[in-house]
Amino acid sequence: MKSIIQVDLLRKTYGTIVAVDDISFEVKEGEIFGMVGPNGAGKTTTIECLEGLRRPDGGSLRVLGVDPQVDSQTLRTHTGIQLQQSNLPDRMKVWEALDLYSSFYPHSADWETLLAQLGLEEKRNAPFAKLSGGQKQRLFIALALLPDPQLVFLDELTTGLDPQARHAIWDLVRDVRSKGKTILMTTHFMEEAERLCDRVAILDQGRIVALDSPVNLVHELGSEERVAFNLDEPIPAELLEGLSRLGNLKVDGGWVSVIENDHRQTELVGEVVQLLTTSGARFRDLRTEQPDLEDVFLKMTGRTIRE
């Protein structure tokens, strides 16, 4: 697999704050590579150094074989960029934006086709300010695809969108990848990274704390099982005691999770249910859960991503 992006000891500081602390990674052709982490982890700074919008303080970068600082023109011609913070003029219409931006590229994709592909046909004459959050993001994806790019940067693509719009955008991103394009994306939704990315770099405080496919990252945690349920009442003391003998307990409002200890080889669900029925507690929504990227982040940093 050809390497599309190579990052070697990238460093960026703002005054005394180290935003990106000597990170290295590689993105291969045709993959969806995700950078996840909380706000301030250094994701956007990294992606903007790669886009050539920010000058790194140290390290070396190659994007599509060029240094973004040296040959920004090549980069701008062959990459599609969706920025975390950007806008179009309020009164610019959807078709006008596509028509205008397509004139910037020597070999622009046909914007009429993109308009249809991204489901914006009926919003064709709508001014930018009148679009919903999801429609705006779809328009930005369309603009990013105009140069028919080899590489697409997507920075916090679905932040602020409702779940339905988010799922629609995910389908679009998978579509883009299936056309052979490489995607580098950032997100602070672990679920998004898990659903979309082939490989994920987990960033925290400017460093990469883990880098692998979502499946491997989760697998490395060990396949600990957990059982969660909801209680309408405060958890009775004897039940609490019994449960804590089965595994680690996490109580969050009415939610109680029992996380299996690595060493036990018992049937966790059965034992939990048995304890619950004998205690007579009224429980709802009993379910088993597999660990996910949120748990990986928790384990690597000792914090939840929303803290």
Partner: protein, 247 residues
């Protein structure tokens, strides 16, 4: 070239869709002309050197349009495009920064020209104005005045933090200047002390130059105006290159 044409066309449409800007550039000066024309008529008077109120109002209102587009239109557009990340998004494409800024200048210039053209047409058709100048000479003066005020607009846009601030600062500079420079109404009506203040206002030189050229005076009679405006233009360009911000 293709992108410059597209960009200019797009910016023209956006300009016309913004009712306030279009109103003050294209409609308001005409309203002023009809209002004061109907009050004073266009009878030649000695105070205006044998010209009528409407005769001398046309170059003065043209100066008003130049100041409005330069200090308000251009400044607010640039500041709001910067504030909203419009410029940032454009900078991620291969389009040259020259195209982005040139399109703005061209649109403001064309809109100002249309504003002036409407004044001239209304003056000719309704008030039968006298024009004793040389068309080419007036055009040259008009271009110089526009460009030097646009360069002021660029400086202002770089200095203000937000579009809202651009609006406030633009107005604070524009309105006193309109009253004191002779653009809003003839300077002959102002008391001596205020006339002295007006020598510090760049718009005064625009009014002087345009009024002079309009009634057939020569550039050689307006060297001060030309030098002041020329200097403003050069300094404006140099300073804006130094301080212009894309985000």
């Amino acid at each position: 070239m293709k992108s410059l044409i597209k960009m200019t066309w797009m910016e023209s449409k956006l300009f016309l869709r913004e009712p306030v800007g279009a109103f003050f550039t294209l409609v308001f000066p005409l309203m002023m002309l009809f209002l004061f024309g109907s009050i004073y008529g266009n009878t030649p008077t000695a105070m205006f050197g044998g010209y009528g109120t409407v005769d001398i109002s046309i170059p003065a209102y043209t100066a008003m349009i130049i100041a409005t587009t330069g200090l308000m239109g251009l400044t607010i557009t640039l500041a709001s495009n910067r504030e909203n990340g419009v410029l940032r998004r454009l900078r991620t494409t291969p389009v040259s920064p020259f195209v982005i800024l040139a399109a703005q200048v061209i649109v403001m210039f064309v809109m100002t020209s249309i504003g002036m053209l409407l004044l001239v047409l209304a003056g000719k058709l309704v008030f039968h104005v006298q024009f004793d100048g040389q068309a080419a000479s007036v055009m040259a003066g008009f271009v110089l005045c526009c460009l030097s005020f646009f360069s002021l607009g660029f400086i202002l846009a770089a200095l203000v933090p937000t579009a809202r601030a651009a609006q406030v600062v633009g107005m604070a500079l524009l309105y006193p200047m309109l009253f004191l420079s002779g653009a809003g109404f003839p300077r002959e009506l102002l008391p001596e002390t205020i006339k002295k203040v007006s020598t510090y206002l760049p718009l005064t030189y625009v009014v002087n130059l345009l009024r002079g050229l309009w009634i057939g005076e020569y550039w050689s009679q307006h060297i001060t105006d030309a030098v002041v405006l020329g200097t403003l233009l050069v300094v404006g360009i140099l300073v804006s290159i130094k301080i212009f911000r894309w985000e």
